[in-house]
Symmetry: C2
Subunit: 426 residues, 2 copies
């Protein structure tokens, strides 16, 4: 057994179904986050079929590149499940049935009033020298086995089995071998500015941090209507790393200003919900082109019934008139996609639903319906309230129907946030 | 150059960002589907960092296992982008600047009134013997290079560059080398039945097909509220393969009955939309626990304005009364989550929005709000119309808030479908 400090890891996902067009390996994102926390750099990821030779070859290659190799899947009871044999093969050891492991598997069936199928006996095979990792959520135990200077950790594929096993059995063992290095992350979430915009402002600030002590590395990630700055830093003094990251977050907030909506992991929906709660306001929304997506996103938050009244999906013009009291003449004069109609929708839904804040969204999501003056992607968003105030924005989003709708939802959430946080916002 | 028939493939995704907890490789799902169509089996997938030695090692390992290796990413202009060098290294050749490629890259900048940054010159480096694959959607050209008995195909990372390049430049070249074997897929989509239920009915039918000629393999995939049976078969006679799959689809439809809602790739939303169009009906929805998700899903379909009137998100009881004319006494007598209230919501939204079909959904998504009689997951769904008819179902879904809401949306869509396809459905 080695006692050298572990620094790098590879992940090997085992399963023929992961090589079809229908499934992808998602465990590796969870595992990467957790391994990184211990200061372990993930050097590579591999997906292989349920084939013993392929698994052994992948394990050997991974062990040549990294000290820790985590496998997922292939621990089930069927002939397809070859991880146990492959791990033993790579370690150059045999495997024996472990009576204690067999008793635990058998007990799971007995507790459910069933008999253990003979096939499950395979799951009690343990390679010589391996530590068995208990699985409270399934029949497949995990394995921890030292191979040369490295370690192979075999975990079951289902996330609800893998994650508790990692927390309970893998994390303490790994931590003891990682020399007390910790990796910490912080995330700034930003709305209303594009990726290159954010990078232009932030780069001069974060650029020098790569050479600082402790060094801070920065990744910028853009998704529809939102930009995230991910900061990470590692070291042996956790308090020092945390302090450095906190100062970094503050420096970036100072240059990015109110575009930063979250530094504590909260989503834009959660930030809006918390603002509504603190202002004791109920929100109502009138959606045309977004067709319910804004309300759908907000009501995803548990407890949102405390700050959401509801809304109207006014897809047809007729519904805008009948259910939101938008004057038909207003639609005729300005068009359904206009500042005036967005305002009338926001005011209408606020009044009809007796809410403190009303939102109106009307736009052209495409692919049809665009004109020269109002091309596909044109969306008007209004926020009525608190009080007599009504703020309206017309934006032109790029991309297809899905993108336009998603970006309109993000923009509406951000407009609500700005109205609620900045008394002078207009 | 080899002219042997190609049978197997590996995919190597290149990019340090794909080794963080935030990004996963999605190109490989698209590539797997397309490679499978040519009869190429995908044997493995690897993700490596932007590091030349790591990329070369991954390419060599992949070439040892498969004849076709497709790489994605690492073709950009920066120092991080090492795919060109690694491909040349593995092929054992040098690289030269290609004047024609340089002219195309330069032209892209000139057309936008900009000058090509000097850094982009790197993208015109072409390994000796490689075929350049044009990129109409970006600056990075792709590469096709023979290495021993195999071929390495280097594609850019962004899907909007990768996919057209595959279609235009890779597919014809690969097809010529795949010996005329085709792989075809068919999918049956099923609603209203669980995975094990479907498998119990379908397995006796599809079981023997694995030994048939042409053999048909079957995969069962379950997602929230929906089960899919994926059939695939390959052979040199495309018409014969298609015929075998068509007969297989019909045999499964016969045993699964009306639970099968699609055999042509359409989603449940699209099937519902097509039914509404053919019946010339407009749909209106009143959503409580799903908070707009049903309408959001339906309005994702381009052209849905032809068959969606709109709806009301009646999250608060007050809104159910004010905007949907649900009698307050009805709520008091039966509770907001009840058959009676779901019916009144469906009738109310249909009348208010002047639609042919009304849907009402009211339930307890959790985590709070459950009782012994109506635990979290209880959802009542009503469909009012066509005509005087009103059908209502109360279901108890398992899982958390996200699951309950998604499954309620699927169940509502399926109830609409059943009402519109089966005159006797009740």
């Amino acid at each position: 057994m080695t006692s050298g400090r572990l620094r790098s890891a590879e992940i090997v996902a085992i399963g023929t179904e992961l090589l079809t067009p229908f499934r992808s390996d998602t465990n590796s994102l969870y595992l990467t986050a957790r391994l990184n926390e211990l200061g372990l750099e993930v050097r590579g990821k591999t997906v292989v079929a349920d084939d013993r030779a392929a698994v052994e070859s992948a394990l050997r290659a991974a062990l040549a590149r990294a000290e820790v190799v985590v496998t997922t899947g292939g621990l089930g009871p069927t002939d397809d499940d070859v991880t146990r044999e492959a791990v033993a093969g790579v370690a150059g050891v045999g495997a024996d049935e472990d009576a204690a492991v067999l008793a635990v598997i058998d007990g799971r069936f007995v507790r459910r009033g069933r008999r253990m199928p003979p096939i499950n006996r395979r799951q009690a095979q343990v390679p010589t020298g391996a530590v068995v990792l208990p699985n409270p959520n399934g029949t497949a135990p995990g394995l921890w086995i030292e191979v040369g200077d490295g370690v192979v950790i075999a975990l079951p594929g289902p996330p609800r089995e893998l994650q508790p096993m990692y927390e309970d059995s893998v994390l303490p063992r790994l931590r003891a071998r990682c020399g007390g290095v910790v990796l910490r992350r912080r995330t700034l979430k930003i709305a209303g500015r594009g990726e290159s915009d954010v990078d232009e402002i932030a780069q001069p600030v974060y650029g020098p941090w790569r050479q600082a002590e402790p060094a801070i590395s920065t990744t910028i990630l853009a998704s529809l209507g939102q930009v995230e700055l991910h900061l990470s830093s590692q070291g042996e003094d956790a308090a020092r790393v945390d302090r450095a990251l906190e100062e970094a977050v503050e420096a970036l907030q100072a240059v990015l200003g109110p575009a930063v909506f979250s530094v504590d992991g909260r989503s834009l929906e959660e930030v809006v919900g918390d603002l509504l709660v603190s202002r004791q306001l109920l929100l109502a929304a009138a959606e045309s082109c977004t067709g319910g997506l804004l309300l759908g996103a907000l009501t995803d938050i548990p407890g949102s019934s405390a700050w959401i009244a509801g809304g109207v999906v006014a897809y047809a013009n007729d519904v805008k008139v009948r259910s939101l009291d938008v004057p038909a003449e207003l639609i005729a004069a300005h068009g359904a996609v206009s500042d005036a109609v967005a305002e009338a929708m926001a005011e209408g839904v606020r009044r009809r639903l007796n809410a403190g804040l009303g939102v109106g969204i009307t736009g052209i999501a495409g692919p049809a319906g665009g004109t020269d003056a109002k091309p596909v992607g044109t969306v008007a968003i209004a926020v009525a309230g608190p009080g007599d105030r009504c703020v309206v924005r017309t934006v032109r989003f790029p991309g297809d129907r899905v993108m336009v709708r998603q970006m309109a939802v993000r923009a509406a959430l951000n407009l609500i946030r700005r109205v609620l946080t900045d008394a002078d916002y207009n």
